[in-house]
């Protein structure tokens, strides 16, 4: 078995893994990037629409272009990248992390001081939304359709039902429409699309694509191939309204019903998992509860903007540096807790004594105009900021100046007022 010693191993070659790798290499660390797939770039390779990178590059790039920038950067830095290399086991031994990986060529044992996990998300399946009916051919996830259409030029069908009113569903609807599937219907249980307004305008309204709010799929119909679906209206609590069932004939059904962090490997390793995000519990530099193991990007929680996901990778790279330099941590981490109007948030604790200001991301559980976002330490309000509008479909980003916390103890409560 080939042995490779590194300061850091980054697992996952999507945008966040690439960004972490680039930053670590720039900081002077010897880093290896391990990707199980055939190519770098992750899911961005199939996201051929524009709108990525305005924050980082000041222009609206497509997914492959955004990824391309980082791939070039990583190659330019001369970093060792391992494609088609799958990490099979990870363990801690003698103060090091040992990662065993296999590729079609060889078995490699990486010995490293720290690990950055950047394994992203997976798509939720029809099973997870408790869908009834048969399982014929013609049922897809949105990501699969994106891949088929954008990389292979294959359309899923002629009459397509899209389930889910989020960004991915809308974007897939537009692609299908433009590539020639004009018989489209988008259904979702909410009263209105839950994705970004830009996508409602640019993907749905621009082309007059049909959609039905407060509607779900009760059952898929068809034995060998999809023949249609039974749609049913729902009330405000998403409960089906009896007597509103309707058979909708179609030849394929595309599910775009949310993303879940790929955190099972970290969980097996013993990392704490946050039941809200379903990703790992992390400190302000996105270090998990395992010493020297960091998590970045959509593995933390699905981000709305790739720029934000990439920012977590940059921050984590600085954290790796602090970890490798044995910089002092607090005796007891300062926990961050959610208030009543916070659905999910990262990070979960403040651990280092010194360092950069704290970047927090969270999703509110309510819609509110002129919202005040506050952080309280006991009775003391240590920071607040205002937003013209907050809502659950928009991930908020705030920065808490570190000196507001200092070496104080207690717990920080994040809330919306």
């Amino acid at each position: 078995m080939k042995e490779i010693r590194k300061d850091v191993v980054v697992v996952g070659g999507g945008p966040s893994g690439l960004a972490a790798t680039a930053k670590l290499a720039e900081l002077g660390y010897d880093v290896a990037l391990v990707e199980s797939g055939d190519e770098l770039g992750g899911i961005l390779i199939q996201c051929i629409h524009d709108g990525f990178g305005t924050k980082l590059f000041g222009k609206a790039l497509s997914g492959p272009e955004f990824a391309g920038n980082f791939i070039e950067k990583v190659r330019g830095l001369g970093t060792d990248t391992f494609l088609q290399t799958h990490v099979t086991s990870v363990e801690r031994r003698d103060g090091h992390w040992i990662l065993e990986a296999v590729s079609p060529k060889e078995v490699i044992k990486f010995i490293s001081k720290a690990i950055v996990y950047a394994t992203g998300c997976r798509e939720r399946t029809p099973f997870e939304i408790l869908l009834g009916g048969t399982r014929p051919a013609g049922v897809y996830t949105a990501g699969m359709v994106q891949r088929l259409v954008n990389l292979y030029g294959v359309l899923p069908g002629k009459r397509v039902l899209i389930v889910g009113g989020g960004d991915v569903g809308m974007i897939v609807a537009r692609h299908l429409y433009l590539e020639g599937v004009e018989d489209l219907l988008v259904v979702f249980p909410e009263p209105w699309f839950v994705g970004l307004p830009r996508n409602v305008q640019q993907c749905i309204l621009d082309f007059g694509i049909q959609f039905r709010p407060r509607t779900i799929v009760k059952e898929i119909v068809g034995k060998e191939k999809v023949k249609g679906a039974i749609l049913v209206k729902v009330d405000e609590n998403w409960r089906p309204i009896k007597g509103t069932e309707e058979f909708y004939p179609c030849d394929s059904v595309v599910f775009s019903v949310g993303l879940v962090p790929n955190a099972s490997k970290l969980e097996e390793l013993g990392a704490d998992i946050d039941p809200r995000t379903r990703g790992p519990v992390v400190n302000e530099y996105f270090e998990t509860t395992l010493k020297g193991v960091f998590a970045v990007g959509n593995l933390l929680t699905p981000f709305d903007y790739v720029d934000d996901a990439v920012e977590t990778a940059f921050i984590a790279a600085e954290g790796v540096s602090k970890f490798l330099n044995n910089e002092p941590k607090r005796e007891k981490p300062l926990p961050i807790r959610p208030g009543r109007k916070v659905r999910l948030y990262i990070p979960h604790r403040i651990e280092w004594l010194q360092g950069r200001d704290l970047t927090l991301f969270f999703r509110p559980s309510v819609e509110e105009a002129n919202a005040k976002i506050s952080l309280k330490l006991g009775d003391l309000e240590v920071y607040y900021t205002r937003r013209p509008y907050v809502r659950p479909s928009l991930l908020e980003r705030i920065v808490l100046p570190r000196d507001r916390i200092g070496e104080k103890d207690g717990e920080v409560v994040l809330d919306v007022e």
Partner: protein
């Protein structure tokens, strides 16, 4: 007349208010960046979109090459742009940013490749 425009230049989706009096723009408010300012002006006077699609590629890893217009094109030309791409075939290798088709359907925008595609043997 006050017009609300949702900026689509980036996912931030700024809601921009454009005040129009006597056919001239009097004020533009609520944009988050220079792109947003430009977009609001355009969306009121001449709505445009960047068109993203694919063309056939021979000798690459995948049968399709993702492409887009080098700049936004008039909204009503979207379908024409897509149709123009249908018969197009390119050969690997291709570099990101390479021009695949100049001045697509007379819009002044080029069709450019979105990614590097190596030649696979």
């Amino acid at each position: 007349m006050l017009n609300k425009v949702i900026c689509v230049r980036c996912p931030r989706s700024c809601v921009i208010s454009v005040l129009i009096e006597e056919d001239t723009i009097k004020s533009i408010e609520g944009y988050g960046c220079r792109l947003g300012l430009e977009y609001a002006k355009e969306e009121i006077t001449n709505p445009k979109r960047t068109v993203c699609s694919t063309v056939r590629i021979i000798g690459g890893r995948y049968p399709r090459l993702p492409v887009r217009t080098s700049e936004p094109v008039p909204k009503e030309k979207i379908k024409e742009v897509i149709n123009q791409l249908k018969g197009l075939t390119v050969k690997a290798p291709v570099r990101r940013g390479d021009v695949i088709l100049r001045n697509v359907v007379g819009t002044g925008a080029d069709i450019i490749a979105e990614m590097d595609v190596e030649e696979t043997s």
